[in-house]
Structure formats: structure tokens, C-alpha cells
């Protein structure tokens, strides 16, 4: 073993790096060498600590001391005091920004981290294929507690008071949903877990099922007890083979322990779970469509009422909740509704898992308390925009959501604020876009998705989205006229106003919000016939700058359509009528002579 008795971890996350944390690391290394401590102390740079506001951050192991706002010149003091004498440098210790109280205990500091893991509490911690590891972490205690000590009514009451709302997008009160099923008398009732995560760019449900399947099983059983259902069904995407396998294993293990099946925990409550597979239809995320799909039919939504709580699967009262919603249930039962409702905003309690992706440095699965701002998510947890580019927009709620911009960065994220800002929570996809992304092209991308995924049942969604897409295509091809933007907005609003289900009612959100937030960019496409981000090929013109061209002929040889002419050692020209805008010339030119306008 090495002789290191002390490690100095210097945050090398994007936030801290931008505040010269690398200089801090260098000074520390230098100082340690100076003091001849190289054999006992090691300086290591790390990823983000999630304390970017207080960076650069240095953590000392083994005593877990955090120093914040560390500058290169602080290295001497840290080494002399802490490493050599074992005394903490008081002035660098973490201070609560509001109270100025110095936080010395590492445990207390936890509270300043941006993420809280409730739904993801076991993901990346337990072995999902071993029920024992789940049990060690208080698994099935909530179910046991409910069955032994509480009646369904009391349990529903706790869920209601916790303020838990559906994490699949709608945001309906989970407790109320359970109650609505519970009050309906029927010979059979069902609990359905919606694991048809279809939003492209969202993978939180898959991660939970792959990482912690038992939490969902336990919650479904609790829901079954509360609503009077004896059967649970998980409707899961066939595209998630690993999640399916782990879920199957978990169900088997739970049965072996008697945690599913007859007379669970010796009570007279019996419950078991079966799987139903989705087959590639986004609309099946809508609960009535999902139920039809489970019945072996086309996944077309139907009018509500009747709600599934009255007539759901096979016409019986059915509770449909999504994976993440279920994953929140056992901790609420164990820790109480007061605990849960202490997290989050007034109307949106608890946390939300987001799949942070796109042009952001730390792509990943994050769980944050409701009320966090987009800025914190993107720039602190996400580590900012990839490649140092400029932030342009973020799409929340997937193809049903809207795009939010710079001006929305400081809005606390919750169900209601996102809707007010023209987007929605959705299932939790969060795609970050930078200056290279064209907002007309992105709207077209989302509409292409909706056109593909529309079930075709109602006219506005079936035909309307197609027409929206065609209008956008017209614009990206350079044939747009200013009136087309008004047509997009009117048509989009009518589709939202008249469509049958949530898919159509939200499908124009991306285009409408993008027009609202980036009017100039749309105008540029239709009036100037220009794509400011350089994405829409039809609007680009390749040109050769005569001053830079040396006549090497590389571009002419690369051009697949022979659009470039010019003698050797003479300036070349591009015939724009032949040019197919493939960009090969630009890639090939070593003299930066080819430009795009």
C-alpha cells in the first residue's frame, strides 16, 4: 500500500475549471513538493462535486473537509495548516450563503448539493438482480408497514398529503388517483405501471427499472392494497430488453420470498404482477391508449370520461401510474408525508428525475428537487454547454413540450411554471441546444416525430400535424412566405384546441414556443431566406473567397457534382445552381477559402 495518508481532491468540473481550479491544483502540487510531502499527500482532480456556485472546491480526504472559493494563493495555507498540522483553514470552509454560518460537518454540507435522490435512491447502489441488497436498504419495509399497521384509507391519505403528482407528464395527484379507483366497487381491479417511455431523449424509467426494479414492485403492491386490486401489470417497451429481464428476475425473487403472491406478510392481501409489452407506439404513453394496447388492440386513445379509475383494463377500475411515480412511494411511506412535502415548491412536491442530454457537458440522469432553476441544472449539474458554445434553448417535455430560452433560465422548475412558460414537465427529457441548432429545423424534427407517432384517430392530429410539418419543410427549403408563420400559429393552436388526446393537444408546443421565442430566426428564414445557424441546407450558399484561394484544385476534385471550376493556381468559383451544398469543398479546403453564407 502507498503511504498516502491524505488526499486533496480538486474539482475539475466545468464550473470550477472556468474559475481556474486547475491553477489551484497546480499550486497545491507545487506546495506539497516544496514541503517534501509528496509521499504522504496526493492531489487529484475530479469531476463535478455539484457545488459549482462555491467553486473552485477542494475536498480533503479522509476527514471530508470541503474548502470553497479556493484560489491558487490559498494553497500554501492549506498545505501548511491542514496537511502538515491537521488544522482546518477556517476562512475557506463552506459558508451558508444566507446565514454565513460556517459548515464544518460534511453531513451538513450535503444539503447544499443540487441533487437529491429519492426515486433513484438505489440506482447505482444496489445490485438490481439481488433482492437481498434491496432489503438491506429498507426494501419491502414500506409494504410490510402498510399491511401491518395501516388501512388503505390511511395509506392513501399519506400519499395525498405528501403532494406526490404523476411523474409521467400529467401531474395529477397520485393519492387522488388511487382514491378514485378505491371508491369504485368491482370484482376485479388492476394496477398498471406505465413503463412505455416513448419520449425520445428520456430514459429515467428505464434506468429505474434497470437499477431498482424492486422499488416499483413494492409500490405497485402498496397501490394494489390501497385500491383493492389484486393484479398488477407493467406495460413496458419491448425496446428495453435489459429492464424487462431485471424486472422478471425481481418479480421472481419477490415471489420466492412471498412478497408477491398470496397472503403477503401473512395478511389477507394477495397481489401479483405480470408484464405486457409495448410495440413501438409513442401514443401508448397516454393511459387510455395504453389500456387498449394491453388488451391486444390498436393503441388508440378514447375519450375520457370514463376514466380508467372507473373503466380501465378489461373495463375494470384501473390505476395507471408511471415508473418514477411508483419509485417515490416507498420512501414516502417510510419517511412520512411531511418529509416528502418539505422538498419542492408549494404545488409541486418532491423531486423530479431528468434525463439531461444534448449539447451539455455532463449528460446524465439527474434527480433534483422541484423548484430548482434551469440554470442550476444546465450550468451546474450539467457543467454547461459542450465545446464552450453558447446556450440557445432547452426542450423540456420532449416532443410535447416547448422550448425555453435564456429568459427562462431562472424560473423555478415545477409543473405549473413550465406550463406557464409554454412548455411542460413531461416525463423528464431535457435536451439542451446550442447556437448551432436551428429552431425551424428543430420544430420540424419534433413534428416529424409527432406525424410518425400520431395514431391517426382524430383529424386535427392526423392531418394537422402533417400540414404543420409540410409548412416547416417549405420554410426550411427556402420557399416560405411571411404568412406561413401565421398559418403555423393558427393551425398549431387549433390542433391543440381540438385534438382528442394529450399527444395532439401538445404536439404543436415545440413549433409554437419556438416561433414565440425566436421570431427573428423564423423571419430570417421566410424573408431573408437565411438560416442563421447554418443548418437548413437549402438556405445556404457556398462561396470561395478569392483572396484566400490559392488554386490548389482540392475543392474542385472533391465536388461530387462538378460545380467548382478554375484553373490550377487560379481562383476557383462555385456554380451555385449546380451546388448541392454537401460541404465537401469546405472540408477539403486547407486555406479557409470556402465559406457558407
Amino acid at each position: 500500500m502507498s503511504e498516502y495518508r491524505i488526499h486533496l481532491l480538486v474539482c475539475g468540473g466545468t464550473g470550477c475549471l472556468s474559475q481556474s481550479s486547475h491553477a489551484v491544483a497546480e499550486s497545491l502540487i507545487h506546495e506539497i513538493k516544496q514541503q517534501g510531502l509528496s509521499d504522504i499527500a496526493q492531489v487529484v482532480s475530479t469531476g463535478c462535486f455539484g457545488l459549482c456556485e462555491h467553486g473552485p472546491v477542494v475536498k480533503i480526504i479522509p476527514d471530508n473537509t470541503y474548502y470553497t472559493h479556493v484560489k491558487a494563493e490559498d494553497a500554501v495555507e492549506i498545505v501548511e495548516e491542514h496537511v502538515v498540522k491537521g488544522r482546518k483553514v477556517q476562512r475557506l470552509l463552506f459558508k451558508d450563503p444566507k446565514t454565513d454560518k460556517i459548515i464544518t460537518e460534511p453531513g451538513e454540507l450535503e444539503a447544499y448539493k443540487k441533487q437529491i435522490r429519492i426515486a433513484l435512491r438505489n440506482c447505482g447502489v444496489v445490485n438490481p438482480e439481488n433482492i437481498d441488497e434491496y432489503i438491506v436498504r429498507r426494501g419491502y419495509e414500506a409494504l410490510g408497514k402498510v399491511l401491518a399497521e395501516m388501512d388503505p384509507h390511511q395509506t392513501i391519505d399519506i400519499i395525498k398529503k405528501s403532494g406526490l403528482r404523476g411523474r409521467g407528464g400529467g401531474g395529477f395527484s397520485t393519492g387522488l388517483k388511487w382514491e378514485l379507483t378505491a371508491i369504485n366497487e368491482a370484482d376485479r381491479k388492476y394496477v398498471v405501471c406505465n413503463a412505455d417511455e416513448g419520449d425520445p431523449g428520456a430514459f429515467m424509467d428505464r434506468s429505474i427499472l434497470e437499477g431498482d426494479p424492486h422499488s416499483v414492485i413494492e409500490a405497485m403492491a402498496i397501490c394494489g392494497y390501497c385500491t383493492g386490486a389484486g393484479e398488477g401489470l407493467v406495460y413496458i417497451r419491448a425496446e428495453y430488453p435489459l429492464a424487462i429481464e431485471r424486472l422478471k428476475t425481481a418479480i421472481k425473487q419477490a415471489r420466492n420470498y412471498g412478497l408477491l403472491g398470496k397472503n403477503i406478510f401473512g395478511s389477507d392481501f394477495s397481489f401479483d404482477i405480470d408484464l405486457r409489452y409495448g410495440a413501438g407506439a409513442f401514443v401508448c404513453g397516454e393511459e387510455t391508449a395504453l389500456i387498449h394496447s394491453m388488451e391486444g388492440k390498436r393503441g388508440e386513445p378514447t375519450m375520457k370520461p370514463p376514466f380508467p379509475s372507473v373503466a380501465g383494463y378489461l373495463g375494470k377500475p384501473t390505476t395507471v401510474n408511471n415508473v418514477e411515480t411508483f419509485a417515490n412511494v416507498p420512501p414516502i411511506i417510510l419517511n412520512g408525508h411531511e418529509w416528502f412535502s418539505s422538498i419542492g415548491t408549494e404545488k409541486s412536491k418532491g423531486t423530479k428525475v431528468f434525463a439531461l442530454a444534448g449539447k451539455v457537458n455532463n449528460v446524465g440522469l439527474i434527480e433534483v428537487p422541484m423548484g430548482i432553476t434551469l440554470r442550476e441544472v444546465i450550468f451546474e449539474i450539467g457543467g454547461g454547454i459542450k465545446g464552450g458554445k453558447k446556450f440557445k434553448a432547452v426542450q423540456t417535455g420532449g416532443p410535447s413540450g416547448g422550448c425555453l430560452t435564456e429568459k427562462h433560465l431562472d424560473i423555478p422548475i415545477d409543473y405549473d411554471n413550465l406550463i406557464a412558460a409554454g412548455s411542460m414537465m413531461g416525463s423528464g427529457g431535457m435536451i439542451v441546444m446550442d447556437e448551432d441548432d436551428c429552431m425551424v429545423d428543430m420544430a420540424k424534427f419534433f413534428l416529424e416525430f409527432t406525424v410518425d407517432e400520431s395514431c391517426g384517430k382524430c383529424a386535427p392530429c392526423r392531418i394537422g400535424n402533417k400540414r404543420l410539418f409540410e409548412l416547416l419543410e417549405k420554410i426550411t427549403k427556402g420557399n416560405g412566405v411571411p404568412e406561413d408563420i401565421d398559418r403555423l400559429v393558427n393551425l398549431g393552436n387549433v390542433i391543440k384546441d381540438t385534438s382528442l388526446c394529450g399527444l395532439g393537444q401538445s404536439s404543436p408546443n415545440p413549433v409554437i414556443s419556438m416561433i414565440r421565442n425566436f421570431p427573428d430566426e423564423y423571419k430570417a428564414h421566410v424573408t431573408d431566406k437565411k438560416c442563421p445557424s447554418g443548418v437548413c441546407k437549402a438556405l445556404m450558399v457556398y462561396e470561395i473567397i478569392p483572396e484566400n484561394c490559392v488554386g490548389c484544385t482540392a475543392c474542385a476534385r472533391a465536388c461530387p457534382v462538378g460545380a467548382i471550376t478554375g484553373e490550377r493556381k487560379e481562383v476557383h468559383t462555385i456554380d451555385t445552381s449546380l451546388c448541392i451544398k454537401c460541404g465537401a469543398c469546405m472540408d477539403r479546403c486547407k486555406f479557409n477559402a470556402v465559406i457558407v453564407k
Binding site: 400520431s454 384517430k457 386535427p460
Partner: protein, 591 residues
Amino acid sequence: MEKVKLTIDQKAVEVPKGTTILKAARTVGIEIPTLCYMHLEDLNIEHKPGGCRVCVVEVQGRKNLAPSCATEVSEGMIVNTHSIRVLNARKTVLELILSDHPKDCLICPKSGNCELQDLAIKMGIREIPYQDIAEMSTYRTDFSPAIIRDMNKCIMCRRCETMCNEFQTVGALSAINRGFMSVVAPAFEMDLEDSVCTYCGQCVAVCPTGALTEVDHTNRLIRDLANPAKTVIVQTAPAVRAALGEMFDLEPGTLVTGKMVAALRRLGFKYVFDTDFAADLTILEEGSELLDRLTRHLNGDKSVKLPILTSCCPGWVNFFESQFTDLLDIPSTARSPQQMFGSIAKTYFADKIDVKREDLIVVSIMPCLAKKYECTRDEFKVNGNPDVDYSISTRELGNLIKQANIDFHSLPDEEFDLPLGESTGAGVIFGATGGVIEAAVRTAYELFTKKTLDSVDFNELRGMDGIREATIDFAGTPINIGIAHGLGRARKLLEDIRNGKSHYHAIEIMACPGGCIGGGGQPLHHGNFEILKKRMEAIYREDQNKPIRKSHENPYIIKLYEEFLGKPLSDKSHKLLHTHYVDKRKKIIYI
């Protein structure tokens, strides 16, 4: 019944709980436009998929517009059916539907009778929307012997799907594909001819546009009538006379038998005959078959198959040939009246007038689309020449009369030609559900009991209930009779038979609601079943007015047996008037 109070367009409305906004509005005279919605009250079908979104209204406090056809009223609801927001939405949605619909209204068979066209007129559509960008969803046109599917004109109202699956339980049609390319079609978009379609035509009867129409033989008929080398004769089914008047704006239920005969003569038919004659003939054959099986059964013959099922409805025949292939030996082998007529016309009658079979064209006027298919069946051809050359629907006849500039209203009442135009009241009632079995009972009773009926009216067999049953006392022998109209109801009776639970001796089945009067070739009733009921009354009125009301008393039928056939179920009868059934189910061939 709990009542709910609400306001629609400032009018106070009070309706029972559970009423939809659409119906509540109608109670105060507010007509909200609809397109996909269809309510066939007597069939217990309320088709409200909420698909077209034309009937949207504004409900105060609701985020989006509500489809009035599928939204139930609630206490204190405030509804606005014609705000600017509603009108704009409605018009935009209609424009969207039109943007994916062919613009060939001028030559569309449904022109003038198209619900989409009506709506476009009502909404004042004056330009073709989205033409600069709109791609259309296009599909192959499918020509079957009876029905043409031009799905380019489909607006996905899904009414046909409901009729085919829920009411008829045929299952030939289903919504297929997804999104923009979704459409209603048979499996694999195969031709209807290869599918389990029975050609009942109920899909055509409810289609709001020109997507589903009948195969139109009008032009073929005009050509034949103009051909001096051909002798063209016609037979008219009983249900036609009770509905044809509607094509000329006469009250539903107006009997136009005489005017119809006059019109057909003016169109140039050499002889105008009556399918009712053949209906009487059917009763003698089918009735004798019933009596034969019944007598043998009563004598303890265990090999006898009962109940016997009627076989005059070609949609029904197609149905059991593809869905109940294990029961092919149960139905009567008697051909339908249309085919009996053709068979007799091209033998007995052709001989009488000394015209060669090939030169005699037998046309039928039918309330039915399956009849168009029936006359193409190989069983009903002699050396490739069909007994009935082709069949045209009541609608086609109406249009032809208009086209020929015949003033229908001023026509005199004329009589059918003899001998194949003479019929009894029993032949007439074939046109309504229960009529065939009533006609059969009138004859079978007298033949079985050797007694004369006091009254020929068996009211217990009449009506509009989907499945009816009655026990008729055949002088001490109770005969159990079942009746079903609509194939879904027929399926129930058949499943009972299959499971050995049926207690009937005879069952009458008609594929269409109300029997032939509600056939797929009749003037469109647009879901108004009062019209069907009036047609039915007309049929029984005609029966009432007939001097002879029992088939076996038809003098020309008696003569036909004396001169030509011998007796019912004779060898000649078997050859000319009976048929056999085939297993139409696609066989899975293993290799």
C-alpha cells in the same frame, strides 16, 4: 332520472344526467354539425369515436374545446356552440380534412348525397386549403363484384368499421396503419373479394363520403336496353317498392309499386316481373324442405338437422360460408328468390317466349348489394351464362329514372306482366324481417295440418327487435321459431346451434337491420330508423291488400309446377331451384 341544468348559447337547458352536449343542444333546436358521429338508436349503436372534431364546442372553464358528441353535460355547464374560437377551429379542421380529400366532387358517385360536401357548403369553404403543400394519403381502389372502395375519399370516421365489426361481426374491415396513412381496409389491404366480406353493404349505407359505394351497373343496363338483339326483362324485389319513392321526395313508407312498374316499362324493359313471384316459389321449396325435416324429426329420425335456416339472404349465405363452415348442412338448400326467378326465367319463360338463353337479359332491382355478387356465383350459371345477368340497387334505379327524364310523380299505376309477375301477400313480406318465416308458416301450417288458417297474420313474428322468437301451434305440435336480423345477432343463434343449445325448429336470418327494407342498396336513411319502420309498415300494407296471401295459392305457381317442375323438391326443382354451400374460409395449405 336525475336532471342536469346547463346553458347552451344563452339558452337554459335541462336534460337527464348522462346526456351529451350534442343531444342536449338538439332539445332546444341547436343543431351542432357532426361528421363521424352516427347514432343508430334501434340498433343500440352510438358511434362517437370523437375522431372528426367537427362538433367541438366551447365549454366555459375547460382548457380546450370539447367534442359535443362525446362530452356529457354537467350541472351549471356553460356551452357556446358558435363562438369565433369554435367556428375557426371547426373550419380549420374541416379544411384539414378537405386537404386530404380528392376534389373530384363533380364526378363523384356520392355528389349531392355526401355529408362532407354538405359540411363544406355549410361552412362556406371557398378555396382549396393547403394546396401549396398538401401531400395526400392515397390508396389503391378496390373493385369487388358489389362494392367499390375508394379509400382516397376515406375521412376515417370509422362508421363502416363499427358496422362491420360491432353490428355485423363480420370483421372484414379494420383500421390499419398509423397516423396520416391510417385508413379502414381489409387485412393486408387485400381486395374485398378475397376477404371475409359478405357484401351486406351496411358499410356503404353509413359511409358519409364516396369512399364506399356500390358497383354501378346503370350504364351496362342502358346499353343492353338499347340493344335490339336482346330481350331485357326485369324482376323487382319486395323492399324496393317500399323505398323507391324516397328517391323522389315522397314520404318514407309510400308504396310506389304501380309507378315503379310503369317507370320500368318506360325505361324499355320488355317484361316487368316481380321477384315476389319467386318468393312464393321459394316458400314452396323451402317450406317443403322444412316440413320434410320436421316430419322426419318428429318420427324420430336422429340424422335430421334442425333447426332449418332460411337461405334467401345472400349476405347471410356469405357469412355462414366463411364463418360457420361446420354448419353448412343446416341452412335450407333453396336458392334465393332472385336466383329462382333467374333460373325459371331462363328456362321455363325463355321457352315460352321462344328466346334463346343467351339473348335473354335478366336484370334484378334489389335493395341489396350482396345480390350483385350473388348473380356472379358459378352455381347460378349455365355454360357460363348467369341466370340473373346483373342486379341494380334501388338507388341506381332511382337515379336511372331521373336520368331518363321520367316524371315519376305523374306516372300511372301499372300492373306487373304475367306469368312471372303474379304474387301473393306472402311473397311481399319477404322484404321485412320475419316475413320469410311468416310466409313459410302460412304455407307449412296448411300443408302440415291439412287445415286452413283462420288468420294469416302472425303478429308475434313481426317487429324490430334484433332477436325474436315465437312458438306456433301446428295443431298440437308446437313449432319453435327464431328470427334475427343483423349478422351479429345471427351469430348468437348460430353459436347456440353449434353448442347444441338451440331449441328452434326454424330460424329466419336477414343480414340487414329490418331485413331487406334496410338493405345496403336502399336510399340512404342516414341512421333514421323511423324511415325503416315506415318501409316495414308499407310492406305489411301491401300484404294486407293482396287478394291472395298464401304462396301455395298463387295460381301461376301452381301452373308452374303443373307445366314444368312437377312438385316441390322434385329432381327438376333440385336442379333449378336448389344449391349447395361452399367453405369460403381461406384454407391454410401446409407444405
